[in-house]
Symmetry: C2
Subunit: 231 residues, 2 copies
Amino acid sequence: MAAKGNGGQGKRPQRIEAAAQAGRKPGGEPSLSLERIVATAVELLDAEGVEGLKMRRLADRLGAGVMSLYWHVGNKEEVFDLALDTVFAYRGPPPTGEPGDWRRDVVHMLEDWRAIMLRHPWSASLLPRRALGANILGRLETMSEALSRAGVADADMNVAIWSLWNYVLGATVTRASFALSDADQAAGQQRLSVLGERYPTIERTRLLLDSDWDGTFRKGLDVLLDGLSRG
Amino acid sequence: MAAKGNGGQGKRPQRIEAAAQAGRKPGGEPSLSLERIVATAVELLDAEGVEGLKMRRLADRLGAGVMSLYWHVGNKEEVFDLALDTVFAYRGPPPTGEPGDWRRDVVHMLEDWRAIMLRHPWSASLLPRRALGANILGRLETMSEALSRAGVADADMNVAIWSLWNYVLGATVTRASFALSDADQAAGQQRLSVLGERYPTIERTRLLLDSDWDGTFRKGLDVLLDGLSRG
DNA sequence: CAATTGACTCGTACGGTGTACGATTGAATG
DNA sequence: CATTCAATCGTACACCGTACGAGTCAATTG
């Protein structure tokens, strides 16, 4: 009730069907379209971050008036939803290798997912507060199928799926957040000076300093997969 | 560079020290104070969510003028940072039981953390984009110590810490996001109708429907702890 | 052909936001 | 009393998302 959280598409009269026949500039550009808007939104998010996405700026990049966007989009929230789900499209594992290798498939999908979130850091911070789009659901389905093939019983499926899901989401969110907060060196240095006194174990293990994020991610994932497939 | 990401406190001239001697209302209220501001911000966040926190509304609740806040706070971002870290304070495990039970300590802390995030759902969605405050670092330290006691070598510590951390963060973020998006029933129903065709495995395991979140969380955590303590 | 429709674009305007700036208050200090 | 300084607050401004309605053109219809 607090959040508007519009899961399905709204019931605006606009843009029921049809595309591209009227209203192009004298130059001859393809005019506006939902695809172009979303693609540009992703560009802008990549370049400027979540708070850098303003409707006016988006319209500028598209060479259009601000209000023209609202024929296609409804509101700004919807732009976020669409950008998020667009970015999470999954092409599936490469066909090389044996077809039955469920573990390879799962790892590939999760690492692909993580790579996307690291390439588009805004997506990690946006995911928590948006409903799941088709592409995200598709990834869940893909993972469920693979685990089913791996012999995980339906009764244990929820634990398995959510454990993996949570792990990847958490890993990426953490990683993205650290990459950002380390950007300002001054604060980092200041943090270090306090570290030795108040957080001795953290400092000893150099937890925040030279974590091998990729390796750590893989190892933790292995632990999880071992435990889950063992039943 | 995209985000301002002010890790440490700023260098505003205001509020270096001192508190409470001047400027109270004729009534005799304790006037303004950083503690009161942050506490009220948490109240407001609990009641209205992230986008419900406006400086004017916060000032109203405090019976103060809007700009009075800015003597204490710097900007709105800082209010978020402070509210977040305040909420994550940890009192430590209950002293009952044997002192050496590392696993109980770790589980207690993680479940406490998760409970907090579920009680304050905004905190889960805010955590991804903010730097770690003192209380969050404290939790990392507590966990490191417990794992060290458990016999985890320093070399393996990063994997252990981050795996657990990621798991809890992901689990809570996911949980909070689902609680919100299921609030609008209409969209949920619509999603179900599509589910059977496009996502058969999801539907068969009733993944999104009757997940036992608490039980699932515990089981996944056990898998992880088993694997990690085994080395 | 002219008239109508409807997809699409966009300028203007409005209410709401965070906050810069300077005026104001009142206790503490000389 | 005069000065200082912590603290409060009203006004004003730039910027935001977007409601509203007018404008443009291709396709359709008579």
